[in-house]
């Protein structure tokens, strides 16, 4: 448990990153742009997972039903 807590604390540092000054191209532009990129990243990442799992589950149930009947 203690180890786990340590892990969580260390992990939480990653929520407060500093800007990497050494990196010439690490800039991010306007705050609204950043938020739009956030939003679209989440949208594009979750869409296929949600759709595929829904369709997969639906097909699984249809085929399961068929197996039970026969």
């Amino acid at each position: 448990m203690a180890l786990f807590l340590q892990f969580i604390i260390v992990l939480s540092f990653s929520l407060f990153p500093r800007i990497v000054e050494a990196c010439a191209v690490c800039f991010s532009g306007k705050e609204e742009s950043l938020e739009a990129f956030y939003l679209t990243t989440v949208l594009l990442t979750l869409l296929p997972l949600v759709m595929l799992s829904l369709i997969g589950y639906w097909l699984y149930r249809q085929y399961r039903k068929e197996e039970n009947v026969s």
């Binding site: 532009g29 306007k30 609204e32 742009s33 938020e35 739009a36 990129f37 939003l39 679209t40 949208l43 594009l44 869409l47 296929p48 759709m51 595929l52 369709i55 097909l59 249809q62 085929y63 039903k65 068929e66 026969s70």
Partner: protein, 208 residues
């Protein structure tokens, strides 16, 4: 297979072309429906990407819509949206009639649905002609580019699906080589998709 098929050209299946023992069980979900569902996953991702592009580009600009660009006709498009939604409902109504084996009645409502879809397409085309006259073109600004990209992508889907629907409608009651109402269900599914994605685009592009 090459010449005598009674099937629509692309969705011709070879599922049960082994005329020999033992029999394969009839699948619970037909191949056409599975294929169309998978195709729709790709389509949703395609429109998801267009929506993402819209959100990102919009967030990067201070003034939206950009100065000097015409405003989009919200009211007439609202009516148009309604027409498309009704078309979708009629399609689902005809599907219900097909399920009850009432083919001729179902075919009638199927036809009305196609008519409304065609109306939607024509009036969108008229709207485009007007907008071009007012100076909103693909290259006039990134706003115009996005508008024509997103609405145009939807328009392509409308006309493509309509072509399939009209073909199916024609063949449904044909005296030679008719197709069954089950076989056109995948195309109906595609029409549902085209109808359902439009309100999202309308809210995003016109209202927002």
């Amino acid at each position: 297979m090459t010449t005598t098929s009674s099937q629509s050209v692309l969705l011709a299946t070879s599922e049960s072309s082994l005329p020999r023992q033992p029999k394969r069980a009839e699948p619970p979900v037909s191949s056409g429906v599975i294929g169309m569902l998978l195709f729709m996953v790709t389509e949703v991702m395609f429109f998801g990407a267009l929506i993402s592009a819209y959100l990102v580009i919009r967030a990067g600009l201070d003034e939206w819509p950009p100065w000097g660009q015409p405003r989009l006709p919200i009211e007439t498009t609202a009516i148009n949206t309604l027409v498309l939604l009704v078309s979708g409902f009629l399609m689902s109504y005809s599907r219900n009639l097909f399920k009850k084996k009432n083919i001729s009645e179902g075919r009638k409502w199927f036809g009305y649905s196609i008519l409304l879809g065609t109306f939607f397409f024509i009036s969108q085309g008229y709207e485009w002609a007007q907008l071009i006259k007012f100076g909103l073109t693909v290259s006039s600004s990134v706003y115009g580019g996005l508008f024509y990209l997103i609405i145009g992508a939807h328009g392509f889907h409308v006309i493509g699906t309509l072509a399939f629907l009209i073909y199916a409608w024609n063949r449904l009651g044909a005296p030679v080589n008719p197709i069954t109402s089950e076989e056109i269900f995948p195309v109906q599914l595609l029409w549902y998709f085209v109808v359902c994605v439009w309100p999202v685009l309308y809210v995003l592009v016109y209202l927002d």
